[in-house]
């Protein structure tokens, strides 16, 4: 058997995703791809991969994976609980997220709940040896294409690895968790803002809107102030961009995300600026948002600034200590930031508070 990861227990919604299936929307093929392109890129950077390498996108709760390779380096990003055990009966060692880890043959990586958001990423150094479908390894489960057999993971799956062992190298971590921003979600009004009354647009920009339980990779239904239509809730179908906010007749908005359909017939009041799409892609049911309108030019500038922050986060990756060791670099950083004197007592590593 070639090098692989054995799925001992599936998570709630684990799929392979890259930066999307580009160029086939005219056939009705959705782009799919990472719900949080920032998280995917950081995970790949930690693993030493090109940005578009397919990684495991973990939704809400992660899987339990057994290493069937001589060694494997993974890049783990997002506030997810991770434990490593040498065998099913061994006591677990807690692994920090937002860093790379070197795993050995037979070790079991137990990924648990994601804290406060819906999405985390696990990239493997060298990537997974999966076939591309229409130029991408992104899973689009409604059509059963891409990723691993076109579906989310199930117990017993063997996920083929491109490398039989991990290249020798230091482990790396993010200097700080990536700041996705807070405050209102920036949107550009349109393409059909003229299908809503002034009061309807004011209600939309007034908010707040709560993420309902109907939230998945296709989109999220929001609940909040009713948005009034000016001339009905039907248009002749036109294209749906990432982050398009369509409003069916009941007046409650739906934000269209990675697995969204290519075209649709509900009027779209606004489109989420690409800088804030990862925040929607990570949103859990119950999360509350307000929206604020920006121009196309402002949205383009915000996105360019975010790309700068991502590039600096990747350029600023620092060497990480092995689990169980004392991360003096992090303690030192903390002292510089908050001026607290730490005693160098051995503690189990834990995620930084968010």
């Amino acid at each position: 058997m070639t090098a692989h990861l054995l799925v001992r227990r599936a998570g709630l919604f684990d799929t392979f995703q890259d930066l999307g299936r580009i160029g086939f929307m005219a056939l009705g093929m959705p782009t799919a791809g990472a719900m949080d392109r920032v998280g995917l890129r950081l995970a790949n950077a930690l693993a030493g991969n090109p940005a578009d390498t397919a990684a495991l996108e973990l939704g809400v709760m992660g899987p339990e994976l057994e290493v069937q390779a001589a060694s494997l380096r993974v890049g783990l990003v997002g506030p997810i609980t991770a434990d490593l055990v040498d065998n099913p009966d061994a006591s677990p060692v807690r692994l920090e997220s937002d860093r790379s880890h070197l795993l050995k043959h037979g070790q079991i990586l137990r990924l648990g709940m994601i804290d406060g958001t819906s999405t985390a990423y696990l990239a493997a150094s060298g990537g997974f040896a999966l076939p591309a479908f229409m130029g991408s390894r992104s899973t689009y489960s409604r059509a059963g294409v891409g990723g691993y057999e076109g579906r989310k993971l199930a117990a017993g799956d063997r996920l083929p690895l491109a490398l039989a062992s991990a290249p020798v190298r230091d482990e790396l971590r993010l200097a700080a968790p990536f700041d996705y921003g807070s405050g209102p979600i920036r949107v550009v009004l349109g393409p059909q803002e003229d299908y809503f009354t002034e009061a309807g647009i004011a209600a939309f920009l007034g908010g707040p809107y709560r993420v309902s339980r109907e939230a998945d990779r296709m989109g999220i239904r929001l609940e909040g102030p009713k948005i009034e239509h000016a001339k009905g809730a039907d248009i002749i179908s036109d294209g749906i961009a990432p982050g398009a906010i369509q409003v069916p007749g009941a007046g409650q908005p739906i934000v269209m995300l990675a697995d969204r359909q290519t075209v649709g017939g509900y009027p779209k009041i606004a489109t989420v600026a690409s800088v804030d799409l990862p925040r929607l892609g990570r949103a859990l049911p119950g999360a509350e948002f307000r929206f604020s309108a920006v121009s196309v030019e402002e949205a383009e500038t915000l996105r360019a600034e975010q790309e700068g922050r991502i590039a600096r986060a990747i350029a600023g990756l620092v060497v990480a200590r092995p689990p169980g060791g004392i991360d003096t670099a992090r303690l030192y950083d903390s002292n510089l930031i908050d001026g607290v004197v730490f005693e160098a007592t051995p503690t189990s590593p834990r995620r930084s508070a968010r």
């Binding site: 002749i236 179908s237 075209v263 996105r303």
Partner: protein
Amino acid sequence: MAAVILADVRPRYLSCGDTAFTVEFGNEIAPGINARVMALHAAIAARQAEGGLTGLVETVPTMRSLMVTYDPLATTRAALQPAIDALVGDGPAARLAGRRVRVPCCYEGEDFAPDLADVAARAKLSPAEVVERHLASAFTVYVLGFMPGLAYVAGLDPTLYLPRRSEPRVRVPRSSVAIAMDMTTIYPFESPGGWHLIGRTPLRLFDQRRQHPVLLAPGDRLVFERIDRAAFSRLDARVTEGTLDWTDLIEAA
């Protein structure tokens, strides 16, 4: 003559955030408008093939508009829109020679046709009359979209025009035959959907096992043929096995 007038009308440009904009040629379903959409779609592809239009990612044609997606890190709306506008009106209007495709459809049962009674009531017709008018409609595929292989099919009998449901269903079964506005469609997969479900076909609009996974193409003419539950089951089994003879259903243009 309508086409001559249309060709002089400049399109509207609609914002779709900072990664896309829509070139809207009209707000109605009309062959002349759709031809302008397909012509711009083709002109952009040709310019891209020559190495032009840096930062343009892809284009998405619909009945009456073309969405242009772009990478905001490689270009800007301000740079790309004039370059697209310069291509409007260039190139030949696409003329599509469609095939004739027979679509067996079962209109029976609450599971296959949950909205048939409601459509009939709203159209002030009997359910049988709704089925007859659907069977008699002269349907043509305009564009593909929404999901892989889903065709927007115009030509519905005008007495059956209804808006979409105000609340879309969370789950519509695969191969459901549905109507809304002046169109009919067939769902390639189980998915959410807001159209009125009046029947089901054993055909699959998207099947990875076929050499061409997408069944229909723009320009195809569809003829629905009524089948009963027993015939549905027989055909469905053959489709599932992959033993259906498609040449029996599709006549070349």
